[in-house]
């Protein structure tokens, strides 16, 4: 694997005015993946090795994007982070706890919340605020504490105005934010999202990405986002490219997307602005490195 290190601040400080949000910086490792191999149906027909000897460290507070073609092992990898799967070989340590020990499962799942593709599969109540409270109620907290957490989760996901809504009347983007609110109310240290925007329309996708970035910049949660959208991946702190059961490239987005030859080989696209820069360079124009968003491109063209 080619690994680029993140040097210096990769992102500006949060500009948040939300009093709930606090910042804490750290280089602490939150998830440690050691020689992880996973085999589906081991010893049975249909045996399939989805991960082969993966090593990976995820820092506390990081926004990590995991990209790669279907079948490259993205979902299998992240499902180890809240013990939906346990390693066939190797180990995964989450917040200092080994996922192989059954007594750790409850605490790891409290710390790592999962959000899936289809929010409808994750919504259980007929009233929005009750849905957010569902997980919290099962933590055995005092009612005031539970209420406080629900309020906080509603505020963080921008759903405070919808508390009496029936979930089926929400848009796709709102439903996905509701699924996130339900997980946030448990105050997890980390959110894992597996292609959360594939069922959403463009507005829903944008809404979801802004929510995730805001939550992460507040220093509140580590975010691990599995996505097919290179535009979304370009906004992460770090991108991991999975291919045939392991990471082949990892680093800050500008470094990863500079490896377009390798990405081409895996049939992965670049963000549109990066692709356009590359074509311009090929035609002999001087275009600076690190143009990943349309706004980057606009400011380059207008600065000249």
């Amino acid at each position: 694997m080619t690994e680029f290190n993140v040097t210096g601040p990769v992102r500006n400080a949060p500009e948040s005015h939300d009093s709930l949000l606090t910042t804490h910086d750290s280089n602490e490792i939150f998830i440690e993946v050691k020689d992880l191999t996973y085999v589906y149906n081991q010893g049975k027909p249909g045996e399939f090795q989805a991960l082969s000897g993966v090593n990976l460290d995820i820092k506390k507070g990081e926004f990590l994007a995991v990209v790669g073609p279907n079948g490259s092992g993205k979902s299998t990898l992240v499902r180890h982070f809240n013990v939906l799967l346990t390693p066939t070989e190797g180990k995964v340590i989450v917040g200092g706890l080994d996922t192989r020990s059954p007594e750790n499962v409850w605490e790891i799942r409290r710390q790592v919340g999962m959000v899936f593709q289809n929010p409808d599969n994750q919504i259980v109540s007929s009233l929005l605020e009750e849905d957010v409270a569902f997980g919290v109620e099962n933590l055995g907290l005092a009612p005031e504490e539970a209420r406080e957490r629900v309020e906080e989760a509603l505020l963080l996901t921008g759903l405070s105005g919808y508390r009496k809504y029936q979930p089926h009347l929400l848009s796709g983007g709102q439903k996905q934010r509701l699924a996130i609110a339900g997980v946030l109310a448990m105050r997890p240290a980390c959110l894992v999202l597996d292609e959360p925007s594939s069922m959403l329309d463009p507005a829903g996708r944008a809404e979801l990405m802004e929510t995730l970035i805001r939550l992460n910049r507040s220093g509140r949660v580590t975010v691990i986002l599995v996505t097919h959208s290179m535009e979304d991946a370009a906004r992460a702190d770090k991108v991991i490219v999975m291919h045939e059961g392991g990471p082949v490239l990892a680093g800050p987005p500008d470094r990863v997307f500079a490896e377009y030859m390798l990405l081409d080989k895996m049939n992965l696209a670049l963000p549109a602005a990066a692709e356009i820069s590359r074509c311009l360079r090929r035609r002999g124009f001087l275009v600076p490195d690190g143009i990943l968003s349309l706004d980057d491109m606009v400011s380059f063209l207008c600065r000249r």
């Binding site: 249909g46 073609p69 279907n70 079948g71 593709q117 848009s171 796709g172 983007g173 292609e195 594939s198 069922m199 959403l200 329309d201 463009p202 507005a203 829903g204 944008a206 097919h228 535009e231 049939n267 992965l268 696209a269 549109a272 602005a273 692709e275 356009i276 074509c279 311009l280 035609r283 124009f285 349309l294 706004d295 491109m297 606009v298 063209l301 207008c302 000249r304």
Partner: protein, 292 residues
Amino acid sequence: MNKNSKIIKVENLTHIYSPGTPFQVVSLDEISLEIEKGEFFAVIGSTGSGKSTLVQHFNGILTPTKGKAWVCGTDISDKRQRRNLWRRVGLVFQQPEQQLFEETVFDDVAFGPKNMGFDKDEVKRRVEKALGQMGLDPALVSRVSPFSLSGGTRRKVAIAGVLAMTPDVLILDEPAAGLDPQGRRQLMDLVEDFRRTEGVTVILVTHSMEEAALKADRMAVLDKGRLVMEGSPREVFNRAGELRALGLDVPAPAQLMHKLRAAGKQVRMDILTNEEAVEEIAKLLSKDNRRF
């Protein structure tokens, strides 16, 4: 244009779910549009805008609450005629792979043609052709259980089941949702090949502005059950501001041109592809260089 070339004609179509109850929802509101034979027509709109409701009228699953629609010359409000529409209009639902049910891929794809009354040889010919049109090798997949295949392949099998009925109109509701970018491209290319070789009309419901931009001859934009825009992708995506207000977007290259124009640069506004955007920016850069 020849009047008979309209394979679909919709006039003031209104559809209300649960009419007369407290749960009444007006899903389509006075829609009128026409689709030409052989056209690639895209329907876009945010979640809940009525896209799926509209296309479900085209093969007789839903009937209008008010208004009229003709598909392949059939009045869809006519119960007796409507029953035959399934032979001529193939509808691929969202996540069609969830509808596979037979024990082998062959039997699943054969289900439609068998019900149409074809003999064994013709059924076999159709199954093999349809699998081939979806980029699958009949010799490799025919005897396999569809449930042992990957999600992307299962979806192709499900679509092959519709192609095997050789419909005149093929409707695809979000056919590529959940596939990776390469899978999306491949699936859309297969659909395009099928349209070209068989001369069918394709109606694509999609959340992907890029797909609509690259493939469609014409497109319709729905919002809260109303038809708010109709035209070629270039015409529609030129109206970026209005689309954004509807919770939609424009393809990234078009968006870039709009941002450049907002920043005072003189660029064309009818750009749809990366290649066209590169061309336009190259002009901008050469012009700037001459000035110095």
